[in-house]
């Protein structure tokens, strides 16, 4: 669950004030807005990568305003994937689990689950260089979901893909979100993508958030 109460964000040239919205647990929420409206800034603030100047942010009923990114339990999928170029796909999936000191057997089991869920089995021993755009985003998604976060934030994860990969990933995202029950916050400016995925729409208009339930 993501609950924002009169959230104020000041980052660079952005001034977002009085942002209030509620994303229930397990919902697929799409955040839209014009280019430069502050969608990515809001997403990064929720993840703890940009400071929150005022208001209250509750993540699963915990006040998260002062929490470090690591403590927020949010999986992040950036627009470009931001993969780690020295690591294999398997190491990407292991990353968050090793940080959490999972034992080897549990890590292996979790990687098996993820590889099946996100169709990564054939890619496990490859490195990011040479992967297609769709494959990169699947790796980024697997890496973000590995530690079973309660919230998944995605910044235009499929905007740079061709139509075929985009359609495939839309289906995959919907299925993964339903299977895992994760609360998804997905930034996009593609109306069709939003209609296919969203249970809930958020729209940034003139520095304010408008919320609407998907019909």
């Amino acid at each position: 669950m993501i609950q924002a109460d009169r959230l104020c964000i000041q980052a660079g040239g952005f001034h977002l004030t009085d942002l209030s919205f509620h994303v229930p647990q397990g919902a697929y929420c799409v955040l839209m807005g014009r280019t430069g409206s502050g969608k990515t800034t809001l997403l990064e603030s929720i993840c703890g990568l940009k400071p929150i100047a005022g208001g209250r942010l509750l993540l699963d009923d915990r006040d998260a305003c002062k929490l470090k990114p690591a403590a927020r339990g949010i999986g992040l999928v950036p627009q470009d994937g931001a993969l780690f170029y020295t690591m294999t796909v398997r190491q990407h999936l292991e990353f968050a689990l090793r940080i959490r000191r999972w034992n080897k057997a549990d890590i292996a089991r979790r990687i098996g689950e993820l590889a099946e869920l996100i169709e990564l089995e054939p890619l496990l021993d490859r490195r990011p260089r040479g992967l297609s755009g769709g494959e990169r985003q699947r790796v980024a998604l697997g890496r973000a979901l590995a530690f079973r976060p309660r919230i998944l934030c995605m910044d235009e994860p499929i905007s740079a893909l061709d139509d075929e990969s985009r359609n495939h990933l839309v289906g995959l995202l919907k299925r993964v979100q339903q299977d895992t029950g994760v609360t998804a916050l997905h930034v996009t400016h593609n109306r069709q993508e939003a209609d296919q995925l969203a249970d809930l729409h958020l729209q940034i208009v003139d520095g304010r958030v408008e919320q609407s339930q998907h019909a």
């Binding site: 703890g48 470090k68 950036p78 931001a82 993969l83 020295t86 990353f95 940080i99 530690f147």
Partner: protein
């Protein structure tokens, strides 16, 4: 009588009179580039020619205990100063690349001073610092100036500036986005730095280390003033060239110079083999 439609010529269709040749462009590039390449090659050929002519005197100098000592001191002091340079260049390069802070412009200018300052001035300033300030007590106790530590300190003072510049470029090229993702995955800043940033910076580290090593290897001015040119004590290879030349033994000076060229080439090739073909290209951009 029907008027015939005139077919537009190629020039009329494209607005370009004729297809222009690229040959003059490439010829111009080639000629200008070759001026410098020929100069460098000529320097080496001239040295080799002279050394061959005076080979007996060259071998005599190269086999002398003084030059053997200078080779050993050069290799050891350059390696120490290159490693020390990396220890300061990594944090400085990272901070300068990632953060904006008050006074950053001043720090930036300060970091470039050893690059723009004449090497002799660096040496003189080191001497003043260690002999004319309260640090003279440290100098007296640890025997820095005019001793081997002065050689390393003089090399380090200049080579670090190059390593910092090189590593800053490396960190600039690494997207902060990967680091941010690592933070959301559970890393502390330190864990993200060591597990994501440093592995991605490995080529840049090798390049910066090589640059610092090469810079230290050729350093002369600051060493001459701060460490002196005492044989079998503070004599590194550039100092040997100076001493041989000053004593009228040009053949010996040329022999040592060629030795330095050979050592430098070996180091560059080894680093390139260790770090992949793109290692040196990145840092020297």
């Amino acid at each position: 009588m029907t008027a015939r439609m005139r077919t537009p010529s190629q020039a009329e269709r494209t607005g370009i009179e004729k297809s222009r040749s690229d040959v003059p462009f490439y010829a111009g590039l080639g000629i200008l580039a070759s001026v410098y390449l020929v100069l460098i090659a000529s320097l080496i050929v001239a040295d080799v020619y002279y050394a061959t002519k005076e080979s007996s005197r060259v071998w005599e100098v190269l086999a002398s205990p003084e030059i053997r000592y200078a080779i050993k001191l050069s290799l050891i002091s350059c390696s120490i100063s290159a490693i020390a340079s990396l220890w300061v260049a990594v944090p400085i390069g990272y901070l300068m690349s990632r953060y904006t802070f008050r006074g950053k412009l001043v720090v930036d200018a300060l970091l470039d001073i050893p690059i723009f300052l004449p090497p002799l001035v660096v040496g003189l300033s080191l001497l003043i610092l260690f002999r004319q300030t309260f640090l003279y007590r440290v100098d007296d106790a640890l025997l820095i100036s005019l001793h081997i530590p002065a050689v390393i300190l003089a090399q380090f003072s200049v080579s670090s500036a190059f390593a910092v510049r090189s590593l800053r470029e490396t960190f600039d090229e690494i997207s902060p986005r990967s680091e941010q993702v690592a933070l959301t995955l559970g890393c502390s800043r330190s864990q993200a730095f060591w597990s994501v940033v440093m592995p991605e910076a490995r080529h840049g580290l090798l390049t910066a280390g090589t640059l610092a090593w090469a810079r230290s290897f050729g350093e002369f001015g600051p060493i001459l003033i701060f460490a002196g040119s005492t044989r079998m004590r503070t004599e590194v290879l550039p100092v040997s060239v100076h001493l041989e030349h000053s004593s009228g033994n040009t053949a010996g000076a040329v022999g040592v110079s060629l030795l330095m060229v050979v050592v430098a080439v070996i180091v560059l090739v080894v680093v390139r083999l260790l770090g992949g073909s793109d290692t040196l290209g990145r840092g020297f951009k």
